[in-house]
Every structure is written in structure tokens, then in C-alpha cells.
Amino acid sequence: MEAVNLLSSNRYTEKQIGYLFISVLVNSNSELIRLINNAVKNDLGSRNPTFTGLALHCIANVGSREMAEAFAGEIPKILVAGDAMDSVKQSAALCLLRLYRTSPDLVPMGDWTSRVVHLLNDQHLGVVTAAASLITTLAQKNPEEFKTSVSLAVSRLSRVSPSRGTELDTDRCAARSQHTCPRCLIPRAVLQIVTSASTDLQDYTYYFVPAPWLSVKLLRLLQCYPPPGPCPPSRGGFGGPALRPLSEPNLLVRACNQLGQFLQHRETNLRYLALESMCALASSEFSHEAVKTHIETVISALKASSFHVAVGSVLVPQTERDVSVRQRAVDLLYAMCDRSNAQQIFHLLHSKFHLCSVPTRALLLSTYIKFVNLFPEVKGTIQDVLRSDSQLKNADATVLEEMPPFPELHAVSVSRPPGAGRCAPRAHRTATLRRRAARGRFLRLTLRGRSPGSRLRGQLRQEIGSSRSILNSEDVKMFTEVCLAVSAVLAPSPPSAEAAGSGRRMFIFYGNKTSTQFLSFTPTLICSDDLQANILGSVAPRPLAEAACLCVAHRYGGTFQNVSVKLPITLNKFFQPTEMASQDFFQRWKQLSNPQQEVQNIFKAKHPMDTEITKAKIIGFGSALLEEVDPNPANFVGAGIIHTKTTQIGCLLRLEPNLQAQVKRLEGIAEYA
């Protein structure tokens, strides 16, 4: 509250402290927010540019939705006002950018957009920088509005980095840019590393590069639009964004070669960036071949870094120590992998397997599985390797079988295990790899049953102890000691009527409650043919005799573990509860009296017969509990419909408890031929 009072003070120091305080405390106290907004509004309109600047900073730092609502209309006006000071203009531009990022719908396009483009021509380079940032983000959503900025950006870029020729040349080039495609300008602009001649740039010159930040921002802006012409590759990180719009093949090749040289550079940062850029280039069809030629260099980068340690008088090559660089190198190897070098790359990766650090090993294993799907010729070799690896002892052909692509792909969400920090990067890394590979067939754990009209989301957290799984005794003991939590309760949420085409989804969370991380964590799905057919789209009206099984293979504390848990994918999961009246129920009951359609089971009650619990179980089973349908109030009656791709199967069930005898009779009837 004090801070808000400070805001309205006229003294600069107090105001400043007040704003600093407010920016740090982002609370949603409505009273204060209104007062703050009021104070900010006053300052925005103040004649003192310093106060306006402070207000803009506050809005940018907080950037909450309420502020956006209040000020999104005001700020563009400040931005394009003729008499605004330079500092105010640049602050306003960035403030608007921030508000746009958080609440894009609240920032209206207006006639201020054309004026903003003209800011690119401003004398003050700070204003130009800020405007360029703003326009880049806005242009991504509304490219048409900001099309005029392209030529301005190019001419600005050329003015920032003047050509080696005379001033006259620059002007001629700039003039030409208005009419023809600025082919000459961009190459020159990007390649210039000269001291700027004009005085106003001297202040912005950074170690002999004129206004590097501005240049990068302008290049980024130009990236949004189709490239006007070929651009030669540029050096270092400043060229990073410039590389993307390249489309001419031989230039890309030159870029690759240059990056190849960087791969062996002394400085680690350059090696890292070279690997990253090459990875991006490898995905482009033109440069893919060129990238492949560098495979030897990448391999040697993995094996030995360029800095050698002098032992006596001999230089001994050291293996690459930096984990980040190694990860990038492996990424690159994966990206450049195709049919011709799959064998080679696989052997190479595997030869290093025993040397690799822990997270890298996990990465390699999942990569092999992907190789199997993508490159059948390597399949045999890899299968041998995997078979010999004891942690995958349950793996058989079905595991490695690829799942055909689904129209909608839902990847299993591998959430970060709470306790294992180091497990997380691997999970993320695999996800990255999945995203990166263009060919879309993966061993995904995607479960899909068709059921138009409803969506049942089940979270699988299954207690290992209680699951009837294929664990051997040692594993069980290990687990109880270790408290591996793949703990689960099936808690279907009430189905909500949603658009057609949805199915049953199962999210599997892997939690690691131990203090040691799991290594080489590989989950695989084994299911019977029936279920596989079911999973792949059409639920055949056959009972799912054997439940699917999820094999989680990992390495814990030096030993391999293999946990198999049955996945609760049973037919009842595809139930949709239906309500019906008493007459309907019994009518149907009598109709479906065909012995094939009916099944009856009388069993002794294992647990005390509690009404509520039974009701809950029936509802949990998936069918609707029909109250007051059965003349006998003690009976439980339920109805549901199984939706399959082709048919709908109605199911009725009736549970009759007999309290004296402690038995229950359960009858189920389903209508299908």
C-alpha cells in the first residue's frame, strides 16, 4: 500500500522506488491493481518523459491482463505521437510488444501500424531496434500489414553496414532497393565487418561490428517474409538467423563447409553452435548431402576435441568433455542419418556405448529403437544387440513392430519425475528427437478406441504391489525396497459430450520416488493381436481376453529391471453409460434372451456387501446405475453402450445380492450377433 502511495508522489526517487517495488510484487489484489493502474495512467499522460518511461517500464514488467486491458489502446498512440521523445518511443514499442505477447487479442491493429513501420527510418537507432522487435512479432501474425517494412528494413540494414565503396554506391543501392529485389544489399550488409564511417553509428559499434543487435533484429524481421534473393553465408552466431532463409543449394553447401571448419575449433562455444546449425541444415533437402560429408569430422569431434593435452612432448587428444557438445553431436548424427549411413552410424554409436555417460546411454537406446523402424536393413543388427542387452529380455518382435501412423497422433506424455532431475533431460531429449525426425512412424504408445460422442480420460497410476503383473520375486523385492512409483488409480472422469472422433486416451506418468535416477528408461507396449487390432482403430466385438501389458525396462542401481504391468484396457473402458426407464430395461432384458448373449455368474461375496461401495463399483465399471428400475430395491441394475467403429453394442447388467447366503448373482447381457 505504501508503495502505491509512493507511485503518486511527484518526486522522482520516490516514484522510482515505488515502481520498483510494484514490479516485484505481482499480486492480484484487486484494490491495489486499480490504484496502480490509476497511478500508471497519470504517469503515462504526464509531460515529464521520465515519468512516462517509468510507467511504461512498469507495464512491461508486470504485463498482466488487467493492465493490457487498460492500456493497450493508449500505448500505440504514444508510440506514434509526433512529439514523443526518443526514449519514450522505444520504451513504448517494447511495452506494446510485451503486452502483445501476453494478450495478443487486446492489442488492436489500427492506423498506427503504418506509422510504426516508418519508425524504422528513425534517426535514433534505439528506436529502430525497438521498432524492429515489435514489427517482427506483429508481422508473424499479420504479414500483410507490415509488408512495407521489408524494403525499409533492407535499406536500413545497408545503411548500418555501408559497402566498401563510396557513399554514392550506398545511396544507389538503397534507391534500387525500392524498386528491384535487393539482391545486392543483403549480401553486402551481412558480410560487412568494417568500422562504420558515419559518426552516429560509432556509439553503436561493438568491437568493430556496427550495431550488431540492430542488424540481427532486422535480419529476423526479413526472415518473416519470403527471401528476396540468395544470401551468402555469414560468420558466427550473428549469421545464425541469416542461414535459415537460404534456399540456394550451393550456398548451403558453402555454409556447411564453413561450419565443418568450426567443428574443430578451439573454442567450445563455436563447436556447439556449429553442431547446432548443422543439425538444422541437415533437415533441409539441399544440404543434407553436404552435411553427411562431414560425418567424419563429427565423429572425430565426439572422439577427440581439438584441444590436446601435452603429455611430455606428445600431444594427446582428449575426448570431448563437454556434455552439451556431445549431446549436440549425437543429435546431429541422428539428423544426418539416412539409408546410406545408417549401418555406419549405428555401429559408431554403439561402439561408444560403453563409454557414454548415463543420460547419453538412455538416449542411444531409444535411438536404436527408432532406427529399427526407420531403417529395416539395420534391423537385424540392432535386434541382436538389443537381445543381448539383458534389460530388454522381454523384447520380442512385437515390441519392435512399428505402429502404423494414426490420423491423430497422441504421444504419451512423459512427465518429469518429481525426484529425478537427471532423468528429465533424457525424457525431454527423446521428445525432441521425436519431433525432429521428419518421417512420422514411431513406436508410440498411442491407444485409440473409437467412440463418437464421448471422451473418457483415464489416468493410469497403478500400484505395482497390487498389480497382477509378470514380476519375478527379485523384482518385487527390489520394488518394495525402492518404492518405485508407477502408482496408479484408475479414475475415469465423467464423460463429457464432445465432438466426434475422440477416443479413449491413456496417459501414463512415470514417477521416480527414489533418490537414484533410473537409467535407460524404456517403456514398451506388448499386447495380444486382438487388442492390437482394437487399438488400431476398430474395436472388434470380441472380448479382450488378455489385457495389454506395459513393459518398463530400466536400469536401477547397476542392475537391469524389467517391470511389466497390465494395462487396464478392457472392454468396459469403452462403455458409455445410458439411462433408461424400468420398462425399457426389462423389455430389452426379455428380448435378449438368446443364450449366447447372456452370461451369468454366481459368486460368493468376498467383501461385505455395502450398497454405496457396490454402486460406486458399478459406476466405475462404466455403466449407468439405474435407480428404482428393479422391483427389488436391493438389486443393482446398470446399462451401457459399447461404441465400436462399426456397431453399437448395448449391455445390460444386473447384480442381485443375497444377504443371507452372502452370494451375489451377476447377469450380463449384450446385444450382438
Partner: protein
């Protein structure tokens, strides 16, 4: 940019600037984790690492680590230069800046950072204009301070008690 941190080799946080609203608890957690990761790295390792879903660019100047977390599409090298520019600004303002300067004048460090970056983007890269703005702010402070001293005296005089 998502946030910027300055911390010492001993793990003491000197400055933190967040460009995205996060809860206090979340912030503390992120700071702790990131400090652990960065401090564990050896001197010859590269300045970039991947952490959570962000890229982290860090550089060590004397006893201070300057750490920036950027998003996927941001350029790492330019962030490195940005850190360097900020250090240059601090150096020019404080004159051969050391960690102690930042400890005692942390609000000035924040103000300089605010002039340089806004909402995570570079505002003005010219050393002159940033420092000029700070100098003006300093002047305003001094003027106000001077004015404060005068008024009580005059009040007392007015009351005839001086």
C-alpha cells in the same frame, strides 16, 4: 529472454530479473536448480546448456556468474554479447566494477538493466544513451535531495524559531 540471474561462486544471488510472471515459490526453485547446474560446470565447457525447455547462456566474470535463460528461437551468441554489453555498462558506470559495487548499489544495477533491456528485449545498445539516462536520473535524485534539505529550514525560519 525469460530471466536473468547474477550469482557469485558461493551461490549467493546478487540480482534477479524476471521477464515472465512466475510465483515466488517457482522462482526460488528455478534459481536453486539453475545455480546448481551452472556452478557444477567446468571452466572449459561451453557457455550454453539446455535446461528444462529453455536454453541457458551463462558467462563468468571474476567471481560473478551472469546467467540468462532464453527461449528456443533466440540466438545464443547474441545473448552472450548482450551479457557482455551489460557488463560494459556496469563497468563504465561504476568504474572498474567489482562484485562489491553490485552488492552495495544493487538498485543502480537494476536501473541500468532496465534501461538496457525491457520486457526481455534489447532496448538500446548504445552505451552513451543508456548511461546518459542513468545520469539524468541520478541528477534528479540529487536535486530532490538538495531541495529537501532546504525546506525544513525555511519552515522553521518562517515560524520565527530559527
Amino acid at each position: 529472454m525469460r530471466f536473468m540471474l547474477l550469482f557469485s561462486r558461493q551461490g549467493k544471488l546478487r540480482l534477479q530479473k524476471w521477464y515472465l510472471a512466475t510465483s515466488d515459490k517457482e522462482r526460488k526453485k528455478m534459481v536453486r536448480e539453475l545455480m546448481q547446474v551452472v556452478l557444477a560446470r567446468k571452466p572449459k565447457m561451453c557457455s550454453f546448456l539446455e535446461w528444462r525447455d529453455l536454453k541457458v547462456v551463462y558467462k563468468r566474470y571474476a567471481s560473478l556468474y551472469f546467467c540468462c535463460a532464453i527461449e528456443g528461437q533466440d540466438n545464443e551468441l547474441i545473448t552472450l554479447e548482450l551479457i557482455h554489453r551489460y557488463v560494459e555498462l556496469l563497468d563504465k558506470y561504476f568504474g572498474s566494477v567489482c562484485e562489491l559495487d553490485i552488492i552495495f548499489n544493487f538498485e543502480k544495477a537494476y536501473f541500468i538493466l532496465d534501461e538496457f533491456l525491457m520486457g526481455g528485449d534489447v532496448q538500446d545498445t548504445s552505451k552513451k544513451s543508456v548511461l546518459k539516462a542513468i545520469e539524468q536520473a541520478d541528477l534528479l535524485q540529487e536535486v530532490r535531495a538538495g531541495a529537501e534539505d532546504e525546506s525544513p529550514r525555511s519552515v522553521l525560519e518562517e515560524m520565527g524559531l530559527a
